[in-house]
């Protein structure tokens, strides 16, 4: 129902979004994955008609929205990356204001406020000022505000940054419910792999303004199907040993995380013997060895040579 066609945005010296074509089908839940500065927010600003593209097009049901953004705005519920709320007003007052902007009033308005507050689990604290809420609660109101006008498509820009695990779970659960039970179309932006893995049917991976991979989770992981990830935990950090191990033949990529080492190797490579041999030579104690199937994180690592988060 919604698509972008070679969407490009050039700022003075950076190309923030470069030739991005996305498709969102009705009822689908799509993830947009990318590290900081990948161009996710810029892409979303263009899709939601808040920013004019340098070139390319955004279409809703086949019709370009660049000249006439009204229809798009009506169907879209946008959850911005920032907390786009009045801090000095309560959750209820914020929702009332945004509801009235959409022409709701009277009973209907109150009912809708009640519904969205229930949805994000804040009905009992609606009278408190937004600035006194925890980060997680603010995020939930941020979502609630985008839901006031019963949108068909929910576009979320990193809705879970900087919140506690409990709020995060609640939020993810809410979004999943909206998508599964109410058929809401969802575009979910994040640099948290797990979230996208849990929530989305299909994923676009962006880096440096470009879409570098797309597909269902399974399709993407198939990129790594001939590989496996070995996670080795030592009793402490051995810089020289880690370097040595990374250079063992067949290792395609390695990452060091404090006292553990992560290696991506071709499936079926026999390297455990070499591993223990080297460990012994350095007097290192291996605490745990874990062979994993790849995650989207690994896919990203493979595609870009970098991690999603620094």
């Amino acid at each position: 129902m919604l698509e972008t066609d070679k969407l490009t945005k050039q700022f003075k010296d950076t190309i923030a979004v470069d030739d991005v074509s996305l498709v969102l089908k009705r009822g689908e839940s799509v993830g947009l994955l990318g590290p900081n500065g990948a161009g996710k927010s810029t892409a979303i600003a263009m899709i939601s008609t808040l920013m004019k593209p340098s070139s390319g097009d955004v279409r809703l049901n086949g019709k370009s929205v660049l000249k006439k953004p009204d229809d798009m705005r009506r169907v879209l519920g946008v959850v911005p990356q920032k907390i786009a709320l009045y801090e000095e007003l309560s959750a209820y007052e914020n929702l009332k204001f945004f509801g009235r902007l959409y022409g709701l009033s009277g009973n209907k308005l109150e009912q809708r406020i009640e519904y969205v507050l229930e949805l994000v689990g804040l009905a009992d604290r609606k009278k408190e000022l937004v600035k006194n809420y925890s980060g997680g609660m603010q995020r939930r109101v941020n979502l609630a505000a985008a839901m006031m006008h019963e949108p068909e498509v929910l576009i979320m820009d990193e809705p879970t940054v900087g919140i506690d695990p409990q709020s995060r779970n609640h939020l993810l659960e809410t979004i999943r419910k909206l998508n599964r039970d109410e058929g809401m179309t969802v575009l979910y932006t994040s640099h948290y792999m797990e979230e996208v893995e849990k929530l989305c049917d299909r994923v676009y991976i962006m880096d440096h303004g470009k879409v570098i991979a797309e597909g269902t989770k399974e399709e993407l992981k198939a990129i790594l199907s001939d590989q496996e990830t070995v996670l080795i935990e030592f009793d402490q950090n051995y810089p020289e040993l880690f370097k040595k191990l990374s250079e063992i033949e067949g290792v395609q990529h390695s990452t060091i995380e404090e006292q553990s080492l992560k290696l991506i190797i071709p499936r079926g490579t026999r390297m455990l013997a070499a591993l223990f041999h080297e460990a012994e030579r350095y007097g290192a104690q291996v605490i745990n060895v874990n062979v994993q199937t790849p995650t989207l994180e690994d896919v990203f690592l493979r595609l870009t040579g970098r991690k999603l988060r620094d």
């Binding site: 920013m51 000249k67 006439k68 705005r73 009506r74 911005p80 709320l85 204001f97 902007l101």
Partner: protein, 419 residues
């Protein structure tokens, strides 16, 4: 529109520090400046209170009688003799002087007691009186001759003050100067217009007292009020900047509401706040400092007309500032405005001190600032509640407001489409 307006007003009411700037600060300044600068404004009566002794070294009745004799001896037609005789009686300078001091506005300020010379000198030494006015022998006669026959022989009186350099003495001195001048000058009018002479004479004296000058409290209540309403512009533009930064403005754009609705709400909110601000400042100042003696509906409705015009222009100014702020995507405009421009405008508008001695250029600019124009409108109303005199300053405020509004509309980023 209602939604916008309620939200804008609620935001302001929740913002303690802004409220403090908009209401508490000007009030504090009115109190400080009003008290400390009492005395430099001629209308500050309390500071000028004084007791004076009036010494008359002549017999007034005798002097009048002798002048009346002179008139009869002149052999003019009887009706004229009659008129002149009456004039001599009612225009007796001593009586005029006493009734001048007994006049409503001066009697609060000056207490006069008749004494003889020795008594007066003693009181002055003991400082129970601040000054002694002596009417020397022949004062009445000379004055009356002067007034009725236009003789060139001027009359003089004598002022003896405990402290010659005190502001009280200055005021008293100028009252007396004016009086003597009136007595000597009115003579020609008296003589020329014959019959109406008596009325003319008292009319001449009236001019000293009829116009009530402005007190320091009146000056600074109005000065600070017209200055601090300007801060509303900054407040509102600051709000708009925050809305843009926190992306609430994006939410508003997404709602498909006409952006002009947003802008007009800002202007109306600003006007409403200014109206409330002015109402509170004026009424508090009136209650606590007795700033405005007049309590008639007519007086306050004049004040209201000026206030509403001012509020309208600040609304337009706020709209302009909002437009520029959103266009530049920066809070520089409200910051610069509240950090310096307001003080400048207040200065050239005469909020801190009267601009009488300032260069013509500066006063001209001040006259075209909404605050400066409003200030002169308020003052003119205080001095003389005459609607026709308000037209000019109010017109200036209106013209400037419309210019602000047109600029605001031109500069406002109309992000109706994807922009």
């Amino acid at each position: 529109m209602g939604a916008f307006l309620i939200k804008d007003i609620m935001l302001l009411l929740r913002d303690r520090s802004e409220l403090l700037i908009l209401l508490a600060m000007p009030f504090l300044l009115i109190a400080i400046l009003g008290f400390s600068l009492r005395g430099i404004f001629s209308g500050d009566l309390e500071a000028l209170e004084m007791d004076i002794a009036l010494v008359s070294e002549e017999n007034e009745a005798q002097a009048v009688a002798s002048i009346q004799n002179e008139i009869e001896e002149m052999g003019v037609p009887p009706e004229q003799t009659e008129a002149l005789t009456q004039a001599a009686e009612s225009a007796s300078p001593q009586t005029m002087l006493v009734s001048l001091f007994e006049d409503e506005s001066l009697s609060e300020l000056i207490t006069v007691e008749r004494m003889d010379r020795a008594q007066a000198q003693q009181s002055l030494d003991e400082e129970t009186v601040d000054a002694v006015i002596t009417l020397p022998e022949g004062f009445t006669q000379k004055s009356l001759r002067n007034m009725l026959f236009g003789s060139k022989e001027g009359s003089e009186l004598e002022l003896l003050a405990a402290d010659l350099s005190s502001p009280q003495t200055d005021v008293l001195d100028s009252i007396l100067q004016e009086f003597v001048r009136t007595v000597n000058f009115e003579a020609s009018i008296s003589r020329l217009s014959g019959q109406e002479s008596a009325a003319e004479v008292s009319g001449g004296i009236e001019t000293i007292t009829a116009r009530e000058p402005i007190t320091s409290f009146q000056y600074y209540t109005i000065g600070m009020a017209v200055m601090f309403v300007l801060f509303v512009g900054s407040t509102i533009a600051g709000q708009a900047n925050l809305e843009q930064k926190q992306m609430v403005f994006d939410r508003i754009r997404l709602s498909n509401r006409s952006p002009l609705l947003y802008l007009s709400s800002k202007a109306i909110a600003a006007s409403a706040i200014v109206t409330v601000q002015l109402a509170l400042l004026f009424s508090l100042s009136a209650l606590l400092f007795q700033t405005f003696a007049a309590d008639s509906w007519a007086f306050w409705s004049g004040i209201a007309i000026i206030s509403i015009t001012l509020a309208f222009s600040v609304g337009c100014l706020a709209a302009l500032m909002v437009a520029i702020t959103l266009r530049l995507e920066s809070d520089a405009v409200p910051a610069i405005f509240s950090g310096g421009v307001i003080s400048l405008m207040a200065f050239v508008g005469g909020s801190f001190m009267p601009l009488d001695g300032m260069p013509e250029m500066l006063r001209a600019i001040g006259n075209w600032t909404p605050n400066g124009a409003a200030l002169s409108a308020y003052f003119s109303w205080l001095l003389e509640p005459d609607l026709s005199q308000l037209m000019e300053p109010l017109m200036r405020i209106g013209i400037v407001a419309v210019v602000f509004l047109l600029l605001a509309l031109a500069l406002f980023p109309r992000k109706g489409g994807a922009a």
